[in-house]
Amino acid sequence: MGSKIRVDGIKFSQELMHITISSGPGKKDLNTRLLRSMAENRINCPILFYSAMDRCSQGAVCITLEDSHRLEQMLAMNPDLKENVQYLSPVGAISLFPHKFSLKLLGCLMHVFGKTGLPIYGMAASLSALTLTTDFHMLDGAIESLMPYISLPPNHAPFRPQLRIKAI
């Protein structure tokens, strides 16, 4: 193993619900409808992963657990959406800053999660962070497994959020 990868900060999300929706060839892409219904019901999706290739689409969104009741009510009114979604809960997101657009940190996450059998439900890059979703109860264990590969400054910010913002 080479030198450790410098990471300046790590942030955990609150408890999330991960909702997957897939469409095969010849089937209507329901991702757009799901997003529209969520917006109409004022349900935020802080995380979205989507791809559409070879006439198949696959999307996943994460919502906070406190919005899950409203999502269930929304889906009860949309049976065709309801029968095409799968849930995972509770899920948590880990954001690592900065990725510097290097494949090293991305590869490190894939290596550690693959080696330890920790699940990756989704991952995406933003301007400076790589955000990965896994089981909420495994967030601390995931960081423990990553520590041999990464170095954090001694004065890094707390992993768990101390401030929450919610649009009402």
Binding site: G2, T20, S22, D29, N31, T32, L35, R36, M38, A39, R42, I43, N44, C45, P46, I47, L48, F49, Y50, S51, A52, M53, Q58, A60, V61, A93, S95, F101, S102, L103, K104, L106, G107, C108, L109, M110, H111, V112, F113, G114, K115, G117, P119, I120, Y121, G122, M123, A124, A125, S126, L127, A129, L130, T131, L132, Y149, I165, K166, A167, I168
Partner: protein, 166 residues
């Protein structure tokens, strides 16, 4: 302590819509058991290869789909890297789409507000614009589109979001 502030926008503000062209989209499909080796290869052998954007999804067959968006200048090095792994008996399925284009933008508290994903992806899909991949995390939105579509996507999103004058 709870603080309530009231703020309203007719259209969500952004810090500007950015476009990157001449990119290659590598889609690598692997099993969870092969993930450690693929990760090790990227961590140790990728040299200076930089990604423009990255997305990982689980597929319905317990496989992971890794989408790496690279500048076309990095594509040959990535092909060599993946090719070496395949020669060594690794069975990563690789699909390359090239050239593709990227539109991305960031906005204040995007991750805390409902409706941003619908305003983005919903608007584009209702206009019939193709999307190969997309992601929203933090305050960022990324959209990968086939060649020649980034300008139409940018124009469409400019009608839905407030963007700084260019």
């Amino acid at each position: 302590m709870e603080t309530i502030a009231v703020y309203w926008e007719n259209r969500a503000k952004t810090y500007g819509l950015q476009v990157e062209r001449e990119l290659s989209l590598f889609q690598i499909s692997t099993t969870s058991s092969e993930l450690a080796e693929l990760g090790s290869m990227l961590m140790n052998d990728s040299g200076g290869i930089r990604f423009s954007w990255a997305l990982v999804q689980t597929s319905s067959h317990q496989r992971l789909k890794i989408s790496l968006l690279l500048s076309q200048e990095w594509a040959p090095a990535m092909q060599v890297l993946v090719g070496h792994s395949q020669e060594n008996g690794k069975h990563f399925d690789v699909q390359i789409v090239s050239p593709v284009e990227l539109v991305y933008f960031h906005g204040p508290h995007f991750g805390d507000r409902y409706g941003i994903a619908d305003t983005t992806l919903g608007t584009l899909r209702r206009k019939g614009l193709p999307i190969l991949a997309a992601g929203c995390t933090g305050a960022s939105v990324y959209i990968v589109a086939p060649e020649h579509y980034s300008e139409k996507i940018k124009q469409t999103l400019s009608d839905s979001f407030d963007t700084p004058n260019e």
